[in-house]
């Protein structure tokens, strides 16, 4: 895997820079475009890690569905969702939260046992992932069905309640 060090470094750099842009961009449209670049660079990292199926899902679900969903909502929000410059307290909160996370994770990585070197031949064709999903992980896999159903019904319920409240207020 180390013959791919340069592509990995480039993809990691793109993922980090676009992640920072997502957090820092004042205009939500810019943040959404940065999220698209971020998700594609993560998909490239999945390819390097020999996770072809996850990379495919990342491109289809993240770069396709979720980013477009975000774009639609940005277009519907008041003033395109532009917000005022951050107050001092917010910047402090963001720095403290990010700093605490990076300190905790950095300490964990530094103290913990070193990462084992990846075996030369990767595992994980579609058949092996399917076997894992349908035997060992059947319960969480089946639970995603009700999860998606509840998400859809919940979204529709939120929307309908809002609509009926709006209709009453205009009458």
């Amino acid at each position: 895997m180390n013959d791919l060090l340069l592509p990995v470094a480039i993809a990691c750099a793109v993922a980090l820079i676009s992640g920072l842009l997502v957090v820092m961009a004042r205009r939500p449209v810019h943040a959404v475009v940065a999220l698209l670049a971020h998700s594609l660079s993560i998909a490239a990292l999945y390819m390097v890690l020999a996770a072809d199926l996850v990379a495919l899902g990342q491109v289809l679900i993240y770069s396709g569905a979720i980013v477009v969903l975000f774009l639609f909502v940005v277009a519907l929000l008041p003033a395109g969702g532009v917000e005022e410059p951050a107050r001092g307290g917010q910047i402090l909160g963001g720095l403290v939260a990010g700093g605490a996370l990076i300190a905790a994770l950095g300490a964990w990585i530094a103290i913990g046992p070193p990462l084992p070197v990846a075996p030369a031949t990767p595992v994980g064709g579609v058949d092996e992932i399917g076997r894992a999903l349908f035997y060992r992980m059947i319960v969480p896999f089946e639970l995603t069905g009700p999860l998606l159903l509840v998400a859809i019904v919940g979204a529709v319920a939120i929307w309908r309640r809002q609509e009926s409240a709006r209709r009453e207020s205009t009458l």
């Binding site: 895997m1 470094a9 990691c12 993922a15 980090l16 992640g19 957090v23 939500p28 959404v32 999220l35 971020h38 990292l45 999945y46 890690l49 020999a50 996770a51 996850v54 899902g57 679900i61 993240y62 979720i66 975000f70 909502v73 519907l76 929000l77 008041p78 969702g81 917000e83 005022e84 917010q90 909160g93 963001g94 720095l95 990010g98 700093g99 996370l101 990076i102 950095g106 990585i109 990462l115 084992p116 070197v117 990846a118 075996p119 994980g124 992932i129 076997r131 999903l133 992980m137 969480p140 896999f141 999860l147 998606l148 998400a151 859809i152 979204a155 929307w159 309640r161 809002q162 709006r166």
Partner: protein, 100 residues
């Protein structure tokens, strides 16, 4: 430094960036996007673990987390739209309906 360590560090930094973003931003869309960054960081770690351990379960878990992220985006964006469509700015500090 080898590729595995580089990806591990990237995952940790992405989680920190996302966590900082949730605290920094007041726009509900930007906060949701920061949460997506954190989910991506976790997914990257799952796939990395599957690769270095030679066990495929991490990839299967990453697929389930992808579905979870999609459901989370649908509910979060629906709530954001329902709350902020009739206001003149999108700021999570504004809504006071549930304030005690």
């Amino acid at each position: 430094m080898n590729s595995e360590t580089l990806i591990l560090l990237t995952s940790a930094m992405l989680l920190a960036i996302g966590g900082g973003g949730v605290m920094l931003r007041r726009n509900p869309i930007a906060m949701l996007m920061s949460v997506e960054l954190m989910l991506n960081a976790g997914n990257l770690l799952l796939v990395l673990a599957a690769r270095v351990r030679g066990v495929v379960d991490g990839q299967a878990a990453a697929l389930i987390v992808l579905v979870l992220a999609a459901a989370e985006a649908v509910i979060g964006l629906g709530l954001a739209l329902a709350l902020f469509r009739d206001r003149d700015r999108a700021d999570v500090d504004d809504p006071a309906e549930v304030r005690g």
